[in-house]
Amino acid sequence: MRRFDYHRAETLEHASRLLTELGDDTFLFNGGTDLLVEIRERLRRVRNVVDIKQIPGLSDITYDETRGLTFGALVTVGRLERLALVGQRYPNLRAAFASLGSIQVRNRATVVGNICRASPSADTIPPLVADGAFVHIYSRTNMRVVPIAEFFTGPGRTVLAKGEIVTGITVPPAGDTTGKAYIKHGRRKAMELSTVGVAVSLSMEEGVCSDIRIALGAVGATVLRAPQAEAMLRGTSLDAATVSSAASKAMEECTPISNVRASADYRRDMVGVLTGRAIKQALETFA
């Protein structure tokens, strides 16, 4: 492996200082399941890694009915995947977590790491976007909270400034009238990057859809919302005809590319299929 130095941060302030003082080619080291691969495959030039896993206070998971689900930067995908609360309240997150990498990878990989990597095909991002999650960001001068839809600025790029560190994520509470789904489409079931991922979070009141958010993964430079498709669905009963035309609208709203995993045309077709399927599945979660 290309040589690099290892630093163990004791506090967030310490980690942030190391990030700015050690210069370029310094990266936070959390689960490492992407970073170490990128180093080994020479995709990223790294001189220093700053391990944040010893920093206290970043491993908590809390849930309450007003604030929702909050988890720290060190919480692994596997830990959340196995949490009964996640399975009951957030089946969309549960599906995304269980489809990421393998059990071994999920025991190391963190959700915060997955979002900071900002891959357009990251599995955890679509359901977090559809749920309207918030990202907590530390810096030495001020803390800020950013809606996750505004966190990404391009493939591999985020709003994080030098020395800023994501400390955790809050997902709004899941009410009794909300339905959620995430469907990942790939060539195989395990150890697979998604070809297309579609997340739907919706609320129904007396048979009418009062709110719906559709998030599309791997069909744009960042995970995309489908605002026009959502507008067509709000206020309807989500009958088959409306869902079908909204799914077609979502196909127009995405901007897929062709790459080794699939062609742009195929991805667009799958957005249509999976959007309809995800809405149906989301409705079943509280049927």
Binding site: R2, F4, D5, Y6, V37, S102, I103, Q104, A190
Partner: protein
Amino acid sequence: MKRIVEFTVNGEARDMAVDACCSLLDALRDDVGLTGTKKGCDVGDCGACTVIIDGEPVNACLVLAVEAEGRSVETVEGLQPGVDTLHPLQDAFMRHGASQCGFCTPGILMMAKKLLDDNPHPTDEDIRFGLSGNICRCTGYTKIFDAIRFAAREMEAARS
């Protein structure tokens, strides 16, 4: 610059001097001398290097050796309860010919151990899910499944 890492491997306290960028996999094989853990892809895809750290299976290639400080690591060498005794999974793998070239076997044994520790009566779907991060390129999965089912029954019989 090398650092000294103190950790426990298969119940035994050890220390090793490692480079910051050395993976736990390379340290186990080259410094500790435990070559049972195999290096397949070295990027977390194949599962051949699966070890159990503090009760959780991980790919040793995606862990830095310096991170093992103070942790407890179990490798395939630690499966045997004694010099002359095999773990029921090892015994079952031999009986069922569940190993062809054998390269994936240590990782699969560690994953299967974790599976049966957590879930003594796995369904085929549970086994499939449990082994989804372990690739056997000889594709001998049928016999691997047979062996794990057999080991589960043997371990159940030994308990009752």
